[in-house]
């Protein structure tokens, strides 16, 4: 348990915005500060990625900041969760007092997403993997799903529940990309065009503009601000691979270790978690994370979620915003897991509010099940 809290959280414009990445970043940062009752002049630490090669210096200058502390940990979708850990430690060490963690992209407006991904010529994958034409990252997740089905007898029908439940939550979130799109059925998921078997388009996250930011400061300072402080109770992480051939078992991810360490630091178990926000780049990503974080045993997740448990009103409030599958996916979605967790813990989530939420977990996954980072947040 740390002496650090999240005191501000906000999204930038989402969906198809026609705005630049730096405009969206600026919205995210200034809205999160306004939410906290702070201004840019209070900020002495900044963490971001996805702006340019030198993301944090780029954004700092753009906002007119000379930060005492910066972090550009560039690990994909778990970056924001890792940055919470880094920022918490830096604040506790007294190096910095108020940190903004932000991410935004305009990937839908800019049409900048490619199915094959980007492999720099000098890395081993460029010689040994890219020539075979895997979709990146999708084909790796597809192979993980195939292996999971083979080992544990899962089916595409059972896995589709992740997407079906995400849509049900998105229908309660007015800013979700699929808000108003109507329910999604298992048959819809199965009938959607196959992309990389066994995963269809409906097993894949959205491609949208969007992003968000959170503001962290000391618990002492947090008590004087607008909202009840959302405490950083624990964190943990693992980086396991960059290629498609390094990990022995694709069904058991580094979320096991990141989750175990985060929960131990917070002094909680999965039974204590009221809200679980996990990265759902693909349906299988969320399924593997739920299992690896210990909410059920190995091989059990598809049965565990089959009874409506993760739908609104169910026993496990999962991806309450509608997730990357139905709410927003600007790439490196991890910061939006934190924003939604904060809103749930403050009781601000409107129609999708989980009653009496006290403990929330945000779990990011980056790359091809490459990086895993867990943050436990709580309010009294």
């Amino acid at each position: 348990m740390s002496g650090v809290a999240i005191v501000g959280a906000a999204e930038c414009d989402l969906g198809s915005t026609g705005k630049s990445t730096l405009t969206l970043q600026t919205q995210a940062v200034t809205r999160a500060l306004a939410d906290a009752g702070l201004t840019l002049s209070d900020v002495d630490g900044l963490a971001t990625t996805g702006v340019s090669r030198f993301s944090t210096t780029q954004l700092a200058e753009y906002l007119g900041l000379w930060p005492r502390w910066v972090d550009s940990t560039f690990v994909g979708g778990s970056a924001a969760e890792m940055m919470v850990a880094r920022a918490t430690q830096a604040i506790e060490a007294g190096q910095v007092s108020t940190v903004v963690i932000s991410f935004a992209s305009n990937q839908r407006s800019a049409r900048s997403r490619s199915l094959g991904g980007v492999a720099e010529e000098h890395i081993p994958e460029a010689q040994f993997e890219t020539p075979y034409g895997p979709l990146y990252p999708l084909s790796y997740y597809a192979m993980a799903a195939q292996q999971y089905f083979h080992r544990y007898g899962g089916t595409r029908e059972k896995l589709a529940e992740i997407a079906v439940a995400a849509r049900a939550w998105a229908l309660l979130n007015p800013v979700a990309f699929r808000y108003g799109a109507g329910p999604l059925t298992v048959d819809d998921v199965l009938a959607a065009p196959m992309v990389s078997s066994p995963l269809t388009v409906a097993d894949c996250c959205l491609v949208t503009d969007g992003g968000g930011a959170v503001v962290l400061t000391t618990l002492d300072r947090a008590r004087d601000l607008r909202h009840p402080p959302v405490r950083v109770l624990g964190y943990g992480e693992r980086s396991t691979n960059t290629s498609m051939t390094a990990v022995e078992d694709l069904t058991a991810t580094g979320a096991r270790e990141s989750g175990r360490e985060a929960f131990a630091r917070a002094g909680i178990t999965p039974a204590d978690v009221d809200v679980l926000e996990v990265y759902d780049s693909f349906t299988i990503t969320a399924a593997l994370s739920i299992e690896a974080l210990g909410f059920c045993g190995p091989g059990e997740v598809l049965d565990y979620i089959s009874d409506g448990r993760i739908r609104p009103g169910g026993e496990l409030a999962l991806n309450t915003s509608g997730g990357g599958l139905s709410y927003c996916h600007p790439g490196q979605y991890g910061v939006l897991l934190l924003v939604e967790a904060v809103r749930q813990l403050r009781g601000e989530a409107g129609a999708r509010q989980v009653p009496d939420a006290r403990v929330a977990v945000a779990h990011g996954t980056g790359g091809i099940l490459s990086t895993h980072a867990t943050v436990v947040l709580g309010v009294r």
């Binding site: 490619s114 199915l115 094959g116 991904g117 010529e121 000098h122 081993p124 460029a126 010689q127 040994f128 993997e129 020539p131 075979y132 034409g133 895997p134 979709l135 990146y136 084909s139 597809a142 192979m143 993980a144 195939q146 292996q147 083979h150 065009p193 196959m194 992309v195 990389s196 078997s197 066994p198 995963l199 290629s243 498609m244 051939t245 390094a246 694709l250």
Partner: protein
């Protein structure tokens, strides 16, 4: 098909493909076999005892996916990508020729000749 040129570490592996020889980087000090080739042995950290040893070219399908949307315009879909577990231990990514693959199927190496004289290993039944 674009395959980047070899570098100082991978040149020996690619040279063998010109003769359709499938090799794996092996540590003479501790016996560890690894792929892709690296500047050090990940088991014992030796940087001097690494060499390329002829491999069986046999393996089994660890997992696979059929790609239905081309990552580049010139690719003809569908095609099958797999993780193959080689008999010597390491996993490699490759293409499986043919259809209706299952996890656990045995495979052996074949070759796709590149314009520059190298060859790309692919796997078949």
């Amino acid at each position: 098909m674009h395959v980047p040129p070899p570098d100082d570490v991978t040149a020996g592996w690619w040279d063998a493909t010109r003769e359709h020889r499938y090799t794996l980087q092996t540590c003479r000090s501790c016996g560890h076999v690894q792929h892709p080739p690296r500047a050090l042995c990940t088991a014992c950290s030796s940087m001097v005892d690494l060499g390329f040893v002829e491999a069986s070219g046999h393996g089994v399908v660890d997992t696979f996916t059929v790609v239905h949307r081309a990552p580049v315009p010139e690719a003809a879909v569908p095609y099958t990508i797999a993780r193959v577990r080689l008999a010597e231990g390491p996993f490699v990514l490759s293409t499986l020729e043919g259809q209706d693959w299952r996890i656990g199927d045995p495979v052996r190496v074949g070759w796709l000749d590149l314009d520059d004289g190298r060859a790309l290993p692919v796997f078949h039944r």
